[in-house]
Subunit: 194 residues, 2 copies
């Protein structure tokens, strides 16, 4: 997605060989027009999937998820992150390990909002080690719903999350795939046009 | 705002005399079409204010804020909530006390995204004791920016946040004002048409 790649090149900050900061348009400040274009692109890519609900995770997944859902005329559910959960009877929960912060969080979704008739598109801002996506997939499975795929704004292809998910047969659509952040430089993966 | 009030009556759950749960369209599941209508209404109410940026707070403020910002063609910044902050040099920070949870959190906004030329509309999902709004106003003040007003989706008028803010001369526009939740019943405040 050219607009997104241009934005990453112009406004992204490479903090290290593995960390790209996009606080100016996605993770802290949000560019709503870019989010709308991102939503349109996800709708285009998953147009035949008869999606009934978008599942994302707070906080940075919410804006792209809401724009996608608006276009599709369906609802979004965002999973909540909490350190520990006391009342879990009415919740689907999964553990998500963050390698960056070396901490494991519980994520949860109320059982009221996902069921076995749902065809769910998972949307998230970043894909790195894939832990958040795996947690969301786990929740979809607990609900006996179907995950039609995962829409990612920025995939760090040099980390293994994308491979783990695709090896499971999950359809992953990433709007920008970053091959390398070496030498302070963003290099995108070449897109294979079928 | 009639659509919102109808949604509250149909789908809101009164948990006690002071707690209204709107997890089905605002705080956990999100109805994007309602968010769009909410955004349109905020734009209408603040149309003469030459707003340059929307400031909100994660997570439930993000969806209405992004829809408002999309219509205005400007960016959103969401304040982050954290337990404690180590690096604060490049951040505006404020303390926000939650009476419900009896805990004080730091909220923060990067100095990169607000400055003295900004005319800021603050948007949040709920107004109860006003602590989050006061924290956001504090951050706007630290940035030497101007707060043109506060747009609230649901105000609990029986709590004192609205009064505290209006007594300070802040313009507060709440799309639904709840006078009482007694006896499991939502009663809206009567709107005064000027």
């Amino acid at each position: 997605m050219d607009l997104l790649k241009q934005k990453i090149l112009n406004d992204g900050i490479v903090l290290s060989d593995s960390v790209l900061k996009v606080d100016s348009f996605l993770n802290h400040q949000i560019d709503p027009n870019l989010m709308k274009e991102i939503g349109d692109e996800f709708v285009e890519r998953f147009r035949d999937e008869k999606i009934t609900k978008i599942l994302t995770i707070e906080s940075s997944g919410i804006a792209p998820a809401v724009m996608t859902a608006l276009k599709l005329g369906i609802n979004v559910v965002f999973a909540r992150k909490r350190k520990s959960l006391t009342l879990v009877n009415d919740l689907y929960t999964a553990s998500v390990h963050s390698f960056t912060k070396n901490v494991t969080n519980e994520i949860s979704v109320s059982k009221s909002f996902l069921d076995e008739n749902d065809r769910i598109l998972i949307i998230d801002d970043f894909l790195a080690n894939g832990q958040a996506a795996l947690g969301l997939l786990d929740i979809v499975k607990q609900a006996n719903a179907e995950a039609v795929g995962i829409g990612i704004v920025i995939e760090k292809s040099f980390q293994d999350g994308g491979e783990i998910l695709r090896d499971k047969g999950i359809r992953v659509e990433s709007l920008a795939q970053i091959e390398s952040l070496k030498n302070g430089q963003v290099t995108f993966k070449e897109e294979v046009t079928v």
